[in-house]
């Protein structure tokens, strides 16, 4: 039972990191209509940057904050490349984000090499109901919870957040009232960068990061974001937690080499059931 609880709590922590990346995907897609396939890159850049800064003796807190900010700048630059030119279609922008991801590989190899890097996180562990969980895992869960609360407050209570929501709700109407939807799109990309960066600095102490880690991250985050129809961050959070728990359970119970396949297979089943329920409801409504 304690093993199950341990896997569950660890899985929730992994899911939280996925949720942060997925929420960045959702934020960008809601405002711009673009699926940002460079989203995993932001986490990798932040993770590698933290590793370097800590290695140079920069204290904890400052290293992580600088890495997250760098990821935010990377997000903004990706946004400039993807939507900076007026009239770029979402499909063209998606292809540009794929290109940015490939370019990032080269830059990351030049700057950090091709070997995985790690960074020290919070040391120690705590025991909850007989289950042992690393403190860093608890930190990931706490930071993710706080981030989602802050995001809800930002989008629901602040004028700027409401303007971003307006762009997602009705881009034409947003332009009618004078909101610069392109600038808001860039802001969404920067926010996506910050969220991806936050995920990166949180997971680097848990699993080493290398230039190509973004593939695993984006596959998971994309599955979670699609679970929330790329528009609902809270549903995406649920999908991410399900993925994280399924992966950790698969690894814990001896299917470590297939954990991603198990988790994505489960997600596929859930989405098929979800889709069939939606179509049944639609038929009843008709």
């Amino acid at each position: 039972m304690s093993a199950f609880l341990t896997y569950l709590l660890n899985g929730l922590a992994v899911g939280c990191a996925i949720a942060l990346i997925a929420s960045g995907l959702v934020a960008i897609h809601r405002v711009t209509g673009v699926v940002n396939f460079a989203q995993g890159t932001f986490a990798v850049v932040a993770g590698l940057c933290t590793s370097s800064l800590l290695g140079l003796g920069v204290p904890h807190g400052v290293s992580e904050a600088a890495a997250v900010l760098l990821a935010g700048v990377a997000g903004l630059l990706t946004g400039l490349a993807a939507i900076g030119r007026p009239g770029t279609t979402p499909l063209s922008s998606l292809i540009i984000t794929l290109g940015v991801g490939v370019l990032a590989y080269a830059v990351e190899i030049v700057l950090w090499g091709d070997q995985p890097r790690s960074a020290p996180g919070l040391a120690g562990s705590v025991t909850i109901a007989g289950a042992r969980i690393q403190t860093q895992h608890l930190l990931v869960i706490a930071v993710t919870a706080a981030t989602f609360v802050l995001l809800a407050l930002f989008f629901g209570r602040t004028y700027l957040g409401k303007a971003l929501t307006a762009c997602a709700s009705n881009p034409y109407a947003a332009r009618v009232v004078g909101i610069d939807t392109r600038r808001m799109g860039l802001l969404a990309f920067a926010l996506g960068g910050l969220l991806g960066g936050l995920a990166g600095v949180l997971i680097t102490p848990l699993r080493p990061i290398s230039f190509d880690t973004d593939v695993t991250l984006i596959v998971n985050a994309f599955a979670a974001a699609v679970f929330g129809a790329l528009t609902r961050p809270v549903v995406a959070l649920g999908g991410a937690l399900l993925l994280g728990v399924a992966e950790t359970m698969a690894a814990g119970y001896g299917y470590g080499s297939h954990q991603l396949e198990v988790a994505l297979g489960l997600m596929l089943v859930v989405m098929i059931v979800q889709a069939s329920r939606r179509s049944a409801i639609h038929e009843e409504a008709v």
Binding site: G87, Y172, R175, V176
Partner: protein
Amino acid sequence: MIDVTDLVVSYGTAIALDHVTLAVGKGEMVALLGPNGAGKSTLANTLAGLLTPASGTVSGTVRVEGRLALVPEGRQLFPDMSVADNLALGGWRSGQRDPAPVYELLPRLAELAGRRAGVLSGGEQQMVAVGRALMSRPQVLVVDELSLGLAPNITADLAAHLATLNREQGLAVLLIEQNARLAFELCSRAYVLESGQVRAEGACAELADDPRVASAYLGGAIT
């Protein structure tokens, strides 16, 4: 306030506005009539600066004096947001977020402030759209299809509010309408737009007596 000279707007090879010349003076209320596809909304979007380089090419002169606000066709609200939030976003351009002056003019909006815009009736939504445009404290208001889909009494109520604004605050209004009767009641001058061209213009009283324009009341072509 609005001075358009020789305006041509095209989408690829399709010409939406063909050498349109039109003016709205300070404190004036002018109507723009025309059937569907005449280019009325293209003109509204051009005046509001909403045509992107990707969507159309523009030539000619468009001069707007003072702040212009658009009440777009189909209301175009933010349906999941409250009326209060819709109004607040209307002040994005001017930086004015206090809805009190709009509530004073349209007291019903104060009662609806907490309701989601998407669940309101058509008339209430149109009122929100007008209120949202007024939040930017405009000197010129372009109203695209005020009466579309609304009951006559609701349209008359909204039209009365526009007339009050025009009379008491000197707000210049370009009323883009298919309902010529309403437009002629409210406005002093009118233009008739068909297939992207101004086919008739003049005082509303004169245009109402013009048999060619009378046929346009019923949606027929002006010959």
